[in-house]
Amino acid sequence: MEDYIKSFLTELNAEINKVSWKEIAFGIKILQTAYEYDGKIFAIGNGGSAAIASHFSNDLNKTVFGQKGEKQTKRFQVICLADNTATLTAWANDVGFEDIFSEQLKNFAQEKDVLIAISSSGNSPNIIKAVNTAKDLHLSVIGMVGFDGGQLLSLADAKIHVPSKKYEIIESAHDSICHLVTTHFKEAIK
């Protein structure tokens, strides 16, 4: 059992070390830019990636400034587009599942905003459609991908690629990187 557990942890460590630090730093720069100009940040994903999108939104909206509480008036403005069941099911039922994120973006997005797109395969149709909409609206895109990166790898501005072939490893690595970014802003924003 010890070997079984340690082999997962070793593999996770090895895969996370393959991620380009410069791409993470570039992602941080994109988020900082949105923060400075009060740009909105949208996060999207399906399944486990939807949960990561939701978790990361919470961390940027609250955890980063948690200890400063009410004193911190300037804050990140992150909207997880996977969180609203009514809107999601309305688009999915009435128009199509591919449109659930893309159409929500059209409600809010402006040029100075950012889209964080999380997809292990990098090929989920509803994610790719939203990224193309974001590109049309001139948003910056942070892509978090696994496997060979799929279409999202080439479309994203900041390319956060965990080149594993296992969902559990990829999603764990994505979560850790989100926590790294959270830690960065906790220290960097005065």
Partner: protein, 323 residues
């Protein structure tokens, strides 16, 4: 109505190597950062067909060729806008002669806003290049290209001007601790002198042949400065800034003057490691680098000059309002 917001910049090392006459022969490099001082350009369709431009003065004219402001005139001509527009500029600091790259920030912000006004999008690289074309080719300002790129891209960057004319913007990523530490070692004093940079820069431009070795040294200082910056070796950075200032002063006779020399001398006496006058020189802002412990002494020595607080930023020119 459209509002663009565009940052000013602080240049640390390598200024002067961004002139085409230099970098066509040897790669030019600068290390600079955008700061939280901005110029805002408000652009709106005008009810009548006239053109109104408001900056330190207000112009109301009928056609673009009647506009006195050379950048606005050139930009409207370039964008083929002939009538019915109102342009208002508001800045966080005096708009000219401060060494913070303000005239290029103005050009970049104006072009960004005018593109948005016409429902066109322009990326940072094209925006910077178009601003260079207007300022250097169209108006004939004797300036380099670093300010336009700093304003359009934003952030702390090494900007490289290659011999083939290609310009690269390479972000310098610092950990929160080193970034905070670097800012904490810097102070910015206003000399109170507002100068026109053109005579200084014209001389500097004509001197490129004669001062070629100094310019090469300035360009080669950039990777050294970057290396020490990434390690957070602040004392060394202060010494490199001092070396940069000594070489920079060689480029043109107006870069320093007796007041600036006096200020710089007072800062060093009070414990500063180094510093420089920002931009073309001759006035504007003096940047001073020292240990945080010596800052109170330096402030006291330079107490007759206004101290300006600032923060590094990441964002370049942006459209912050559009309806």
């Amino acid at each position: 109505m459209i509002i663009s917001s565009t940052p000013f910049r602080i240049s640390f090392v390598g200024g002067g190597t961004d002139f085409e006459d230099f970098y066509r022969r040897y790669p030019g490099r600068v290390l600079s950062t955008s700061i939280n001082k901005y110029i805002y350009l408000g652009i709106n369709q005008k009810f009548d067909k006239c053109i109104r431009v408001s900056y330190s003065r207000t112009e109301e004219v009928e056609t673009p060729n009647q506009i006195q402001h050379p950048i606005v005139k050139a930009a409207l001509e370039e964008m083929n806008i002939r009538e019915g527009i109102e342009i208002v500029s508001v800045g966080d600091i005096p708009s000219a002669g401060t060494g913070l790259g303000s005239s290029s920030s103005f050009t970049v912000g104006l072009l960004n806003g005018l593109h948005s006004y016409l429902d066109k999008y322009i990326n940072a690289g094209d925006l910077a290049e178009k601003a260079c074309q207007i300022e250097i080719q169209k108006i004939g300002s004797p300036i380099g290209k670093q300010d336009q790129y700093a304003a359009a891209f934003g952030g702390l960057n090494v900007i490289t001007f290659n011999c083939d004319g290609k310009i690269e913007v390479d972000p310098v990523y610092l950990s929160p601790k080193i970034k905070e530490g670097f800012q904490g070692h810097l102070m910015l004093f206003y000399t109170g002198l507002q100068r026109s940079s053109n005579p200084i820069l014209s001389e500097q431009k004509n001197n490129i042949d004669k001062k070629f070795e100094f310019l090469k040294n300035l360009s080669d200082l950039v990777p050294v400065f970057r290396n020490h910056l990434e390690k957070g070796d602040f004392k060394k950075l202060g010494e490199l800034l001092h070396q940069n200032w000594l070489w920079k002063k060689e480029l043109s006779s107006g870069i320093s003057n007796s007041q600036i020399e006096e200020m710089y001398h007072l800062a060093l006496e009070a414990g500063a490691w180094g510093g420089k006058v920002l931009g073309a020189g001759g006035g504007g802002f003096l940047l001073v680098m020292s240990s945080p412990e010596n800052q109170a002494k330096i402030r006291e020595a330079l107490k007759q000059y206004q101290l300006t607080s600032f923060r590094f930023t990441e964002a370049g020119s942006k459209i912050v309002f559009k309806n």
